[in-house]
Each structure stands twice: as structure tokens, then as C-alpha cells.
Amino acid sequence: METRLLKKSQLLSFIAGLMEQQAVFAPVKNGDFTQFQQINQADELDLESTHNTRYPPKALFQPQSEPLFEFRDGKFVSLLGEIQPRIIFGIRPCDVHALQLLDTVFNAEGAQDPYWLAKREKTTIITLGCEQPCSTCFCTSVGGSPFDRRGSDLLLTNMGDYFAFEVVTERGNALVQSMPVAADGQANDVKDMQTKAEASFPKAFDPTGIRDKLYQLFSSNYWKKMQESCLGCGVCTYLCPTCFCFDIVDEKQRNQRVRNWDTCMFRVYSQEASGHNPRPTKLERTRQRIMHKYAYWLDNINEIGCTGCGRCVRYCPVNLDIRWMIQTAQNWVEA
């Protein structure tokens, strides 16, 4: 579809216009990092940070703690309220594609999650393409790209003194009617810029055959080495845009049944009432995390369950780098 243009100086008034119609969520500077939250003023928006928000935007659809039911008069009453139409502005392509991956879980045929769906349906996604990689980005190694259109309604490209708005869906189109359409030459400039930027993204590894390789390594000493430095905390999974595991807990004092994020990196996650644990040590748990992303997702939907956002790489307290783990797996020769 067509591309429309917006002068940078007009961006804030454009956003203010959006805010008049809908709630707008955008990256906002919060101390040393940015975080998606609803903005009250257009200028709260922060698009300057080259790297991604620290807390993943999946939380806008699957909040870390989400009350599901209230227990009232002996009955479970759903707390799924009316969701107002909203716009996410400035989300990156890796995070948008992660939402699509999560759709295959929460919007699975015959088992649709109403809490997820309600928010998904009411959300318009305006993606900001990345003209510059950060040191932990590896989207191009896992089948993504810095200008990936999948899942977006509009895709923005930063062209220096103006933004190019590429229309991806009708829903996106409706928001940019007032902008001038890019002439052919300008549209080509945008394409060139995108191609050039994409080429600057380094390939961390080649994912070909990774699924089979990991299955071969299932009982290998490879995992012994990988898990050694892992502490078993939940940083990698909680900051991951594609990790979706949750726990359902009854909070008696609130009279609510709540779902909270959970992580396969915790021992209690798979601990059964009998005391038996199918994943008793951090070896099994580390293996589960990596194999889920790089083997089981491929088995189920033929896509890698990692979008290369790099959050786990950056914030792992022991610098256990998933890129290094995959590289090592690819080259592993069992002694």
C-alpha cells in the first residue's frame, strides 16, 4: 500500500490528534530506561533511545498480574472489562512480531483467550522501524528484519527530517488520511534507506538446522556447560516479548483469581504436589527455555519463538548470551 509523509516538526501534533480519539501508549523515559505507558501529553513520548524499552510491551496485552475473576456469592464473575480502543505508538518490529507469535497461543483455534483477544482487537499498532541496530539486536538472525511489516497497522521509517508512514492495514490507513502521499521518488528513498539499514544489522548466527541440532544435543554435555553460570532467575523470561507462561493464583484477601507471569526458570514452576519435578535442576530448566524457543516453536508453527530483541542478552545478570548459546550449539562437537 501507499506511503505517506509527515514532517518531524508535525509529529507531536499528529500524536496529540490521535490522543483526542484514542488512548495512546508510547515509550516514556523512566529514569535510565524507557517503558511503554499511556501518555497524557504528546511530548512525553521518547523516540530518541536507540534501544528497546526495558519492560516488554507484551504486558499491554498480558499484564504481569491480571485479575481474571472475582469470587462473589460463591460464583466466579469475570473481570474482563470493556477495553477502549487504543494505539501503541513507537513499538519496534521485533516486539510486534512477538505479539503475532503469542496470538498462535492465546488465539489458538478452539481455545481463544478472551482477556488477550479483547485487548488485541482494540489495539492499533504503529511500529517504528529501526534505522540503527543496538549491540544486542539480532532480529535478522531469527527471520525478522528492522522494517518487518508483519503485525503492524502502520510502519514508520525515520528519514531524518520527516517520517514515512507505510500503510499496512486499513485500520492504519484510516489514521493517516490527512498526510500527503509520498511521490515515487520519495518512496524509493524510503526503500533505499530501509535496505541500507537492514544491511547494517549484524548476523549473530545462522539458524538453519538449529531445531535438529538441539534435539541431537538433548542429552549432551552441551547443556551442562550452558547451565553452569545460569543463576536461575527470571530476568530473561520476564523481559522476553515471546515468553507467555503464567500461573493462576487465588488471592483470597482480594477475593480474586489472578494470573501472573511465571517462568520455566523457577524450580517451583513444574514442581508437582507429590514432590516430583520433571525439571529438577537448572540444567533441565535452561534446556527447556532454549529448546522451547529454538525447537518446540519450530515444531508447532515452523517459526523460531525468539524475535531477537536482545533484552535477555542485555539484562542477564551473568551475561549468559542466548546468541552465544545458539552459536555454541551449532558448533558443538560432543567429546
Binding site: 481474571l68 475473576f69 469470587f71 460463591g74 460464583k75 466466579f76 469475570s78 474482563l80 497461543v105 492465546f106 489458538a108 481455545a111 481463544q112 483467550d113 478472551p114 483477544l117 479483547a118 482487537e121 534435539y215 538433548f218 542429552s219 507467555f244 507462561c245 503464567f246 500461573d247 493462576i248 493464583v249 487465588d250 483470597k252 483469581r257 494470573r259 511465571d262 520455566c264 514452576y269 513444574s270 514442581q271 508437582e272 504436589a273 507429590s274 516430583h276 520433571p278 525439571r279 533441565e284 527447556q288 529448546m291 522451547h292 525447537a295 518446540y296 516453536w297 515444531d299 508447532n300
Partner: protein, 284 residues
Amino acid sequence: MEHNQNLYEPIPMRIARVIQETNDGTLKSFELVFENPQDKDQFYSNYNVGQFCQLSIFGKGEAPFGIANAAWEGDFVRFTVQKMGSFTQAIHKMKAGDAIGMRGPLGNGFPVDEWHGKNLVIIGGGCAFSTLYALTKHVLHPPIRPQYNEMHVIYGARTSGMCIYKEDIASWYGRDDLKIYQAIDCPEDGWCYYTGFVPVVTKQIAPSPVNAVAVLCGPPAMVKYTLPVLTELGFAPDQIFTSLEKRMKCGVGKCGRCNIGPKYVCKHGPVFSLAELQELPEEL
């Protein structure tokens, strides 16, 4: 889009009957009846023997239990529960008339239609026998029974006092369309059936693998040692079925914790053939 059904919302049930199954008080069966007739219709239109439900007690959360009755038995759903963690302790304190939530039926259940015309060898141990009991009851239903051939049921418990469904199982001895073999682990005065662990007893009985399927449920150790016996007897991996248990929360393939490799026990299982399990990573 309409979201008329909330996956996580339990339907209201009421406990109609509580049955003390064993003399040590650790196993009880609960028969639940539906508060709303439309829930009942929906349940039975989906129910396949071998499936499970998430029972729900507010404050204690939810826990999965295999359904221990066949659809024809009546308008109730039976579960046999072993007292183990906080949820099962809470349900053990409940009485007839108490309200409880239920989600289900969940999972795949036994592929009973694929087994038409076959001999069934049912091998169970402890309280995991519950879904096998449901399977046996299902097959024994007069309109269904002719669809299957011979039926052998091997059931082991630790002691005679730990046997469940006592009355029903006693009545099976009189039948000519079913062979029941009961076993307890150690000799006991007055016990006139088999003595020994299930794998050993299975070896003694030596059911034939010809045109047969073996359905196996029990504690992990029992399953582990019975599988080689069945293989030795000539059962191929696609003739052996088992039902797995894992820690579960959602029961609908979302919360993530019950996976074995790419398969979720709650969604793709709990019933798997040995052939299917051999394809999966070993992480039980």
C-alpha cells in the same frame, strides 16, 4: 467477535456423594452434579472417556483430575482424589451438598473409536486406575460392549485396604465378558487373588499382543517397569497407551508448564501412545 465462553471460568457444580474408597482415608471419590442443565448437556456432548477436568475451590486454586465415570452412568461426574497437597486436602474436607467449580472436559481422552474390534488389556495401579475404571465402565455398557473383543483388567494396589471401587470390581468377577486380575504388593491373610507388583503380575498373566492394545496408568515406577514387560510380551509401541500427569494451571495449552517437548499434556494428551512418547524428549 463474541467471546461467549471464558476458557478459565469454572462451571458451578455440587457434590452429590462422597465415597471413602480406602481404609487409610487418603482416597475419596466425589460425585459432582451440574447446577445448570445447559452445562450438563455441553459437558456430555464433548466428553470422551480418558479426559480430565480442572476442579476449582476458591482460595485453593485449581487442580486436574481424571474423570472416573462413563457417560452412561448417570448425570454426574466422578473424580477419585488422593490427599496430597493443599487443594486435595481442602476437597477431602468437603461434604455432600458443598459447591465446587469445574472446568472441562479437557484433553484428548482415549482413542476408543480406533480400538473397535480389538482386545483391550487394561493395566492400572493405585488411584491412577480412575480413568481406566471409566474406560472399563464405558466398554461394559451393553450397546458399546460388542464393539470390542476380549477385555482383561489388571489392577494393583498396595494392600487390600487400598483397593478402590471395591464393590464394582468384586462384581466383575462374575462376568464372562471381562477378566479381572487384582493384585496387592505384599501377601495378606484372606487375599485370594494375585500378590506382587503390577509388572510381575502382568508377566505371569502374559496377555497376548495379537489384535490387542494395552492401556497403562499408574505411578511412574509402575509404568516404567511394566513397559519392558509389555514389549517383551510382543506389544508394539503403537499398541501401548498411557495417560500422563503434570503440574497444570490452565488446562488448555497456554500456561506452558505441562509440556513434554512441543506437546502439552493438557492439550495434546493426557493420553499418548508409547510410539508418540518415543518421539518426544525424555522429560517426564
